[in-house]
């Protein structure tokens, strides 16, 4: 499996993505700060009344961005191989087809997981530093808060990485890149919906089961891959 993953990297020259992470991060910081400076100074408590809320907003942005990013990776690694017909080459190799696809999905999953955690870390740190200067959020940053928040980010990241695989299912239906990316946007709007303090991902069980659902749906799309024709 490791070898297959290595070959995928070699094949796709997958290294230009660092720039992608940077751009996404800068954009999220810009959006967060825009909200921070607009709402943070208001007397009524809107959305930046405390750290928890701020962190939630950042995390939601980050997950949304990288779930969509994941769908572009699925498009690149899987759907494009179908469209370029190189999949018919791959399928003449003495390797289990499920494994071939799984190697690609492992890359997408781990990459999404990693970038979400990393970006949260970077953006949150920058945010805290800026708040230290302006002080719109008047709250002590306790260890408890950091640990709780860190745990939540971690769980949410796992969920997002799993959910990020769902677009494979829609992309595979018609081998469509557009379908892949559009479905990821729909998924993002689903998980990003906040209902006051309660968001779907605020409980531990939900993110983990969402991750499982995502992986299952992805599996569903390759379940029969050994038995179907490749055109």
């Amino acid at each position: 499996m490791l070898k297959l993953i290595k070959l995928e990297f070699k094949k796709n020259k997958f290294n230009g993505s660092l720039l992608g992470i940077l751009i996404v991060n800068v954009a999220i910081i810009a959006m967060t700060l825009l909200m921070y400076f607009n709402f943070g100074s208001l007397e009524e408590e809107v959305s930046f009344s405390n750290y928890q809320e701020a962190f939630n907003i950042i995390d939601t942005f980050v997950r949304a961005a990288f779930i969509i990013y994941a769908s572009t990776l699925i498009a690149k690694f899987v759907i494009e191989e179908y469209r370029n017909k190189t999949m018919s080459l791959m399928f003449t190799y003495p390797i289990d087809r499920k494994k071939l696809i799984a190697a690609k999905l492992v890359i997408v999953f781990i990459w999404t997981l990693f970038t979400i955690i990393f970006s949260n870390l970077v953006i949150t740190t920058i945010f805290v530093l800026i708040n230290n200067h302006y002080g719109y959020i008047n709250e002590a940053l306790t260890t408890d808060l950091i640990i709780n928040n860190g745990l939540q980010i971690l769980l949410n990241a796992v969920a997002a990485a799993g959910l990020g695989l769902i677009p494979l299912f829609f992309g595979m239906l018609k081998k469509s890149i557009v379908g892949t990316i559009v479905s990821s946007v729909l998924i993002v709007s689903f998980i990003g919906s906040n209902y006051g303090d309660f968001s779907l991902s605020s409980i531990i069980a939900i993110p983990l089961s969402l991750a499982v659902v995502g992986i299952l749906i992805a599996y569903l799309s390759i379940r029969n891959i050994d038995k179907v024709d490749l055109f």
Binding site: K11, K13, N84, L89, T92, Y93, P94, D96, K227, D229
Partner: protein, 307 residues
């Protein structure tokens, strides 16, 4: 003789359309099998089923003595193929494509790539991306990729497409070398008969998804009937003389002024002399050989296809 490939009543129906049906095919070890058929006859479909890209809806395939299932991936290791047209990772170089192929095939002889490129006379292209390649170059690289792992069975679907005449000759020689020196069994499909005729040991003719005829070249050469073709304006008289004086019974009138004499025991100049002596105007007299082309056309016509 070991059988490398055997299909048993192989069939494929897609969306209610029968592409291949009841196809029996046997390829023995070391053979060059010429797979002939007009465009759309089902050659590629059959080859795709052999490489397990398409799944048969009927019958089965036996490769190296083992049945081919949807999960018999190990069998694929022993095959090399180009199906339809050579497909590469366009953004990578030839070398990178070859390396990837070897890695996926689990073949680690570093020298093999250079050798294969040399065999197809594709050198000095090392840092070019595939997308800059011409069709002929891709075809050569495709063949190189198919042979680099020295497979036991080589499936080549229209391998000479896009090659120039020199290239065609080179590839034809290469196929012979692969067969004779490396003992590789080849299945080569083509709609150009002349190409296969010269190198094939066995010919399978497919039309409208059905195997019309499977025959060894050896038996084909034995049965192939040569004939003498006479062009004359007085066909009736000539026929009479031929049967009366030379006792020829095996002949056929083709069109208005052509006679074909299949009795090869009688010499051509004797026929000519006799006819001239009897004042039959002979415009031409030539000895002809039934080429595979005639045979092929005959088979296809017999199959209900107008040529």
């Amino acid at each position: 003789m070991t059988t490398i490939l055997k299909t048993n009543r192989l069939g494929k129906t897609i969306n209610g359309k029968e592409l291949v049906s009841g196809l029996n095919m046997t390829i023995n070890k070391g053979e060059i099998y010429g797979f002939l058929g007009p465009n759309g006859a089902g050659k590629t479909t059959v080859m795709k089923m052999i490489t397990s890209i398409l799944k048969p809806t009927e019958g089965d395939i036996e490769l190296f003595g083992k049945p081919l299932h949807s999960n018999s991936f190990e069998l694929l290791k022993r095959m090399g193929s180009i199906i339809e047209y050579p497909i590469f990772y366009e953004k990578l170089t030839a070398q990178e494509n070859m390396e990837l192929h070897c890695e996926y095939m689990g073949y680690y002889n570093k020298k093999a790539i250079g050798e294969a490129l040399e065999m197809v006379k594709l050198t000095g292209i090392n840092n070019k991306q595939i997308k800059e390649f011409s069709l002929g170059m891709k075809q050569r690289l495709g063949i190189a990729r198919a042979i680099v792992t020295k497979p036991e069975l080589l499936l080549l679907d229209e391998p000479i497409n896009g090659l120039d005449p020199v290239g065609i000759l080179e590839m034809r020689n290469l196929f012979s070398i692969l067969s004779k020196q490396y003992g590789i069994t080849l299945l080569i499909s083509s709609h150009i008969l002349g190409e296969i005729e010269h190198i094939a040991d066995k010919i399978g003719v497919i039309n409208q998804g059905k195997m019309v005829k499977e025959v060894t070249m050896e038996s084909l050469r034995e049965t192939s009937n040569d004939y003498v073709e006479i062009t004359t304006s007085e066909v009736k008289k000539a026929c009479y003389i031929l049967s009366d004086r030379l006792h020829i019974s095996n002949m056929k009138v083709i069109g208005e002024n052509v006679i074909r004499v299949y009795d090869m025991s009688i010499q051509q100049n004797l026929i000519f002399k006799t006819l001239v002596m009897e004042d039959v105007p002979v415009e031409s007299i030539t000895q002809k050989q039934h080429s595979l082309e005639d045979y092929f056309m005959k088979l296809l016509n017999g199959g209900g296809l107008s040529a």
